[in-house]
């Protein structure tokens, strides 16, 4: 195994609210290897975006309480603000969910795409713009030279997400964090953007963290996935294995809830019963136990740690760690 490019170790990020501290990220650890695409899956509010923002130290007003983010031998949680600025947009780039609002409306797109080059490489306006136009062309913006003069509102949603990707790639970063990059887009455009991300990963060798709540997206994109629930990783492993034999009841329930085209007509949908937990007041023990079909007495008492279950997977579940298979209708 190669040396990991990025290593998140026992990360805890909290937010202060009127009702108390919210543990948005509660002891998350994972590795990202050069060139790989890692998927982070989970429902809204499970901490996947905050994990990504914490890596960039952009989690404000949240607070990284403990843990380490090792990137090329440096601990980013201990880096100064100046050192972080050299990492952001240069070595780790990030693209966001809503391309309609993620670009500054008052600056020309070419100028915005070129900005990281001026900031990080100190290039002049002309040189950086030429490079930006080249990158816009490579991510599939037609007549990039002319379009670089346009403002963001003159682009469609899919095109804007391409602009965001180009902006992230100008400095050829080693890591690209894509936070729900297709959620705000039409289904056909989603496929195009995913194709582009796959192409970027191959052509530039950029390691990618793909954050999504869409299991279909990770299935086609990522070799390895992490499933998060209530600020913790509940399952991790190779995508194929996790999909075929989920080792955590949450993953199992998520996969089961996807309606299938080949299912019998009139077969009722199988939702996960109950509601996501209140992060201020988490249930004791495993956070998923009130909704879990397999729970045993221990689940409401002790928090299970993430441990190897089976050959390739990790799971934080007392039931599967004890060797029980997840089966049921």
């Amino acid at each position: 195994m190669t040396q990991p490019l990025l290593e998140v170790q026992d990360l805890h990020t909290v937010f202060s609210t009127k009702e108390g501290w919210v543990k948005a990220v509660d002891g998350v650890s994972f590795e990202l290897h050069p060139g790989e695409t890692l998927g982070i899956v989970g429902e809204s509010g499970c901490g996947k975006s905050v994990t990504a923002l914490s890596i960039m130290r952009l989690q404000r007003p949240g607070l990284i309480k403990s843990g380490h983010v090792m990137f090329k031998g440096d601990d980013l949680t201990k880096a100064t603000e100046d050192e972080m600025r050299d990492v952001r947009g240069k070595e780790i780039a990030m693209i966001f969910q809503d391309p309609m609002t993620s670009l500054n409306p008052v600056f020309r797109t070419g100028w915005q795409v070129a900005e990281p080059l001026r900031l990080h490489h100190g290039w002049n306006a002309k040189k950086s713009l030429t490079s930006a136009i080249n990158m816009l062309g490579r991510v599939g913006i037609p007549s990039a030279t002319e379009r670089a003069e346009d403002y963001p509102h003159q682009f469609s949603g899919g095109m804007r997400q391409r602009v965001m990707i180009a902006m992230g790639l100008t400095t050829t970063p080693e890591v690209l964090i894509a936070d729900e990059p297709t959620t705000a887009l039409d289904v056909t455009i989603q496929a195009q953007i995913l194709d582009l991300l796959r192409h970027v990963n191959q052509e530039f060798g950029t390691a990618t963290i793909l954050i999504t709540h869409n299991l279909g997206v990770v299935a086609g994109m990522c070799k390895r996935i992490i499933v998060m629930y209530a600020g913790r990783i509940v399952e991790a492993g190779p995508t194929a294995d996790v999909f075929a034999h989920p080792k955590h009841p949450y993953t199992w329930a998520l996969l089961r809830s996807i309606p299938r085209l080949d299912a019998e007509r009139h077969e009722p949908l199988k939702p996960i019963e109950g509601l996501p937990p209140n992060l201020v007041d988490l249930p004791g023990g495993c956070a998923f136990h009130p909704r879990c079909a397999f729970k045993i007495e221990k689940c409401s008492r002790d928090v299970p740690a993430l441990q190897r279950v089976g050959d390739t997977q990790l799971s934080a579940c007392w039931v599967t760690q004890a060797g029980t298979e997840l089966k049921g209708a």
């Binding site: 952009l58 603000e81 600025r85 966001f96 500054n104 409306p105 008052v106 900031l119 403002y151 965001m164």
Partner: protein, 323 residues
Amino acid sequence: MLAKYVARRFFASIVVVLGVTLITLVLMDRTRGTYVPGIDLNPALRPEDIARLRADLGLDRPFYIWYITWIWGVLHGDFGRSMIDGSTVMSHILDRLPNTLELTGTAILIGVLISIPVGVIGALRHGSKTDHTMTVVSVAGFAVPQFWMGLILILIFSVTLEQHGLPWLPSSGAYSAVNGGDFIDRVEHLILPATVLSFFYTSTWSRFIRSSMLEVLSQDYIRTARAKGMSERRVVYLHGLRNALIPLVTLIGLELPGLVSGGLVVEVVFGWPGIGKLAFERALQYDYTTVMGVTFFATMLVIAGNLLADLLYGVLDPRIRFA
């Protein structure tokens, strides 16, 4: 496209000018009664003199005839002569306008220079003691009447300082009549009225920038800017402020009529020889021509200010298109 837009706005503004001047005239004409401007300057006038004066001034005919005559003159660039002193209205306006521009221009400049940093700091540290303090000062800024604040400043910086033999600031006029009128002298006269006037502008605008900035700083593109690795200063003052200032342009555009009228109270309190004071005094004397002339200029400034603000809006915000 733009020329067409400006032309259309110009023609639309003709209606506004006609409306405003007509209403001004009707209000003066209906409240004048049988008074004839200028009669109280000379107690020896006989009834036939007054009748002749009335006919000379055109006040013996219905107001609409007077209005049409006035409009005809304006179309030929003639604003007539003052009904009180006989000098041309244009000479009055040209005489007073520079003083008003000096005062309000300074106040607006100070207002912009102070309100932007104050508003930005308020937004960056919202909820802090600094923010609360600035909020209190701002609320005081538009709650305290300008005439009162003017009098208090005169009491402190002119009267009290002079009584204690300290250097003091002049309380009245735009320059000293004796041995005055140089740059330093004018600045000394400007300090107090400009302070009162700019305090009001600063208060309003800084609140405005604060809320505008708070909204902008929570936008997604600010997060993008940070993720690109730029300094917080660049995030706030380039990517943030550039967006937050767009609505301020409209606000300042609406304040441009204040170039003529907004400073009226301050001009009266500080005896500032400006347009506002002129209009105020002449309105009390039913000097039709002077009031109408000033009204015309003020209306044109309102229209020009709004148009300028709208055009600037289009320059600052690329999403705006003129049609």
